[in-house]
């Protein structure tokens, strides 16, 4: 594996810094389709009905060549990523596609609702907050495997990022620019994604839920 320089830039946060990822969006296809229709509605109702008589013989309609249509969408569509990072102030989680996956709203809230009774939350496994480990998931953009780190083992952002560099340099795909810069981001208790480094380390340790390393596109 080539020795890549991963620099986790703990940049100063600016608004809108984490927006605008080019995640494929199904909606765009539909917007493109608007206004591109031939005028079919002129055909009369009777004509429309006449084409498909309900006489039980549907052979003609079931003549299916077995070949996919030319305009098959899915072949061209890239795999859509459904993990999102958004620094908007929405209370609810950001979804890439409205209403998908089909889960009732209140079910989603089960994990996000803060409660003071020391429960086990989705991404953060804390036994007791008095010296035991605090494991937090770390995801790196482009890497399939999610890892976990024990935040308590680190004393500062620097030691954390050093460790993450070591951890992920084994996973980094070849082909990426050697000097690709990465940004370390984290999700806080309110569900917001922020750039790591702007709050004191102790505060960070108390509120971090998840970590994600993203490519710096600037």
């Amino acid at each position: 594996m080539p020795n890549m320089e991963l620099q986790l830039g703990l940049a100063l946060p600016t608004p809108n810094m984490i927006k605008g990822f080019d995640l494929n969006n199904h909606r765009l296809d539909h917007l493109k389709q608007r206004g591109c229709f031939s005028n079919k509605s002129k055909r009369s109702f009777e004509q429309a009905f006449g084409n498909f008589k309900q006489d039980g013989k549907t052979k003609t309609l079931l003549l299916w060549s077995g070949q996919p249509n030319e305009e098959e969408d899915h072949k061209d569509q890239k795999k859509t990523t459904f993990s999102t990072i958004d620094d908007s102030n929405d209370d609810e989680e950001v979804e890439q596609v409205v209403g998908w996956p089909p889960i009732k709203t209140w079910r989603k809230k089960i994990f996000n609702q803060p409660n003071g009774v020391g429960g086990i939350e989705n991404n953060r496994v804390a036994d007791k907050e008095n010296g035991r480990s605090i494991y937090v998931k770390v995801k790196m953009e482009g890497v399939a495997i999610t890892r976990k780190v024990d935040i308590r083992l680190y004393l500062s952002y620097q030691t954390l990022s050093n460790s993450l560099i070591t951890m992920f340099s084994k996973d980094k795909k070849c082909g990426d620019d050697d000097s690709t810069r990465y940004i370390l981001t984290y999700q806080d208790k309110e569900g917001d994604w922020l750039i790591a480094g702007d709050i004191p380390w102790q505060s960070f340790m108390r509120c971090v839920q998840r970590l994600k390393i993203i490519r710096n596109r600037d």
């Binding site: 199904h26 909606r27 539909h30 389709q33 608007r34 206004g35 229709f37 031939s38 005028n39 079919k40 509605s41 109702f45 429309a48 009905f49 084409n51 498909f52 309900q54 549907t58 309609l61 079931l62 299916w64 996919p68 249509n69 305009e71 098959e72 969408d73 899915h74 795999k79 859509t80 459904f82 993990s83 999102t84 989680e93 950001v94 979804e95 890439q96 596609v97 409205v98 209403g99 998908w100 996956p101 089909p102 889960i103 009732k104 709203t105 209140w106 079910r107 989603k108 089960i110 994990f111 609702q113 409660n115 009774v117 020391g118 429960g119 086990i120 989705n122 998931k137 995801k139 999610t146």
Partner: protein, 585 residues
């Protein structure tokens, strides 16, 4: 020889005979025999089910059935559960309550699903029906604890108050104190949806203590673990119990007490709740496990081995709801321990995470299907699937009546062969001849709809998303599925052709929802014009649909049959296509 004719029986004999006929379908058949039977039947029908509150007006119902004691109404389309229906769409129950308050003073039961219920409605119920017994508000909204207080105070013989999955404005936990001391009739109380605010616990305890027939009690998250033992000891006759919060730092003797309280409930068969569960307290349940037929762990963020330990102790389990923390290994334990399993629902713990972080795959579902041949109902969220797995499931569980598979990423192919999952779902509909409900996902072409149209003759409800290639897909379903009542489609390339060609079919169905498809405004207009018994409602939040060319696709529409014409309570973003080809608003 004189033949004794049916119509020589006195009316009350016929009425007595009819009283043994409970199902709506049979009752409808009875009323169609002749005028006399129609008349007798309508006077003695006590229960009415209205699957779409806009299909008929309250007055028409009251006119035909003057002596109803129990009514069930459903409002919003199913996709409202997933935020596809804008707020304010409709489904208001107040007009019904107002009419029934005058016409049905003896009304005893109201069951509502996906309707907007206001405090005013609840107050009117409490005031108008002297013998009111059952109120079930399933996925409803629009009311607060003030309305509940009115019900508690006003309904002297209340038996059932079930607020499952409703959104309640939790103003105060004190509404429970409005149950008078004389109220001893409660059989079922479900307040699990109430917020995390305080609930008046002492009032709850006293209420539970004085209702000897209480069989079902589901608490909300605000009730802490240390309180549960007291509740259980006051209601050892409970059959169904929903815990509140299941986390705490209890001293060991309290844990023992809790275990004792559970074991004193000899009838307990169903458990749910378990918010924030701390595994250390699960052993308190062990004494109950062997009797459990239903277990809902879908709010419980426990992982293995705790899930396996619990599930392995429940050999009588018929119904399990759980998060994907159960993983394939847990499902294997389920398959070997719970041979009577009829219903399984596995929910995703991290639906928007993108990459799977638990080891739950198609294999888990296959294992359960092989081990539990009595399975009838499956809801499964996962990240990958194969045709082979689906075929195995179909062949192993021929008794399936409900199959809902959600592969989290749309258009995911069979991960081994990279083919569409047409064949797999085809096997499901072919082998499971009693299938009534089906939800599709993954990569699917028109072929899967061909299979569905060919085999799914008992299918009543179909949910489709990101599937199909052309109108042929929609046509297969509309043409072939004889029993279809509800069809909901999103993000599919289905347009005008199939819809217009099968317009008559729509009158045999309860409703059709389509969003993000390619049906044009012109087609909607045509349908509204030519089919007077259908309400064609276009939903457009940005601008009137006729401000664009007719060939433009509509973003969302909802078509349903109705004998009462277009509704009058439409919000600004709903446009009805009427008989003159005008859009009404």
């Amino acid at each position: 020889m004189q033949k004794k004719m049916m119509y020589s029986f006195p009316d009350d004999v016929l009425e007595h005979v009819f009283s043994f006929i409970q199902s709506d379908k049979d009752r409808n058949a009875v009323s169609a025999v002749c005028k006399l039977w129609y008349e007798i039947e309508r006077w003695c029908r006590r229960k009415v089910f209205i699957g779409n509150c806009y299909a008929v007006s309250p007055r028409v119902v009251i006119k035909r059935f003057p002596e109803v004691r129990s009514i069930e109404l459903k409002g919003k389309p199913h996709f409202a559960d997933f935020n596809l229906v804008p707020d304010g769409w409709g489904g208001y129950v107040l007009p019904w309550i107002v009419e029934m308050a005058g016409a049905y003073p003896c009304l005893e039961e109201i069951r509502l699903k996906r309707m907007v219920v206001t405090d005013e409605s609840l107050e009117l119920i409490a005031k108008s029906f002297k013998n009111f017994k059952v109120l079930v508000l399933f996925s409803c909204e629009g009311f607060s604890t003030d309305g509940l207080a009115a019900i508690a105070a006003g309904c002297k013989n209340l038996r059932e108050l079930d607020l499952r999955e409703s959104e309640v404005d939790d103003l105060s936990g004190h509404w429970l104190t409005h149950f008078p001391e004389t109220c001893t009739s409660l059989v079922s109380l479900n307040i699990s949806c109430l917020g995390s605010d305080e609930v008046s616990f002492s009032a709850l305890e006293r209420l539970v203590g004085r209702c000897p027939n209480l069989k079902s009690l589901r608490l909300n998250r605000a009730v802490t673990l240390d309180k549960i033992a007291n509740i259980l000891r006051r209601a050892p006759q409970l059959v169904d119990f929903g815990t509140g919060n299941y986390a705490s730092e209890l001293p060991p003797d309290v844990l023992l007490n809790l275990a004792g309280a559970f074991s004193s409930c000899k009838e307990l068969k169903s458990l749910s709740g378990f918010w924030d569960v701390v595994p250390a307290y699960l052993p308190a349940l062990y004494s109950v496990c062997s009797r459990l037929t239903s277990l809902n762990l879908s709010y419980a963020t426990i992982q293995n081995p705790e899930i396996i330990k619990l599930v392995s102790r429940c050999p009588s389990l018929q119904r399990l709801l759980v998060l994907d923390y159960i993983e394939d290994s847990g499902l294997e334990a389920l398959a070997s321990s719970c041979k009577d399993l009829q219903e399984l629902r596995v929910f995703p713990s991290d639906p928007f995470g993108g990459e799977p972080h638990v080891s739950l795959t198609e294999q888990g579902l296959v294992t359960v299907s092989l081990g539990c041949p009595k399975l009838q109902s499956i809801l499964y969220f996962c990240h990958r699937m194969t045709n082979a797995a689906l075929v195995t499931i179909a062949q192993s569980c021929p008794n399936l009546t409900r199959f809902r598979l959600c592969i989290i990423e749309p258009k995911t192919a069979d991960y081994l062969t990279l083919e569409p999952l047409d064949v797999g779902f085809g096997a499901i509909v072919e082998h499971c001849k009693d299938l009534r409900r089906l939800s599709l996902s993954g990569l699917l072409t028109d072929r899967v709809f061909e299979y569905i149209g060919t085999y799914a003759k008992k299918l009543e409800m179909l949910s489709v998303a990101f599937a199909g290639d052309s109108d042929l897909g929609l046509h297969h379903v509309l043409f072939g599925c004889e029993s279809l009542r509800k069809l909901e489609i999103r993000d599919c390339p289905f347009g005008d052709k199939a819809l217009l060609a099968n317009a008559a079919k729509l009158e045999t169905m309860r409703s059709l929802w389509m969003s993000s498809c390619t049906v044009s405004f012109g087609a909607c207009k045509l349908l509204g014009q030519k089919m007077p018994r259908l309400n064609v409602e276009v939903i457009d939040e940005t601008e009137p649909p006729d401000s664009r060319p007719e060939s433009c696709p509509v973003e969302k529409f909802y078509i349903y049959r109705s004998v009462s014409g277009p509704r009058f309570d439409k919000p600004p973003f709903v446009w009805t296509m009427d008989e003159e080809g005008k859009i009404m608003h």
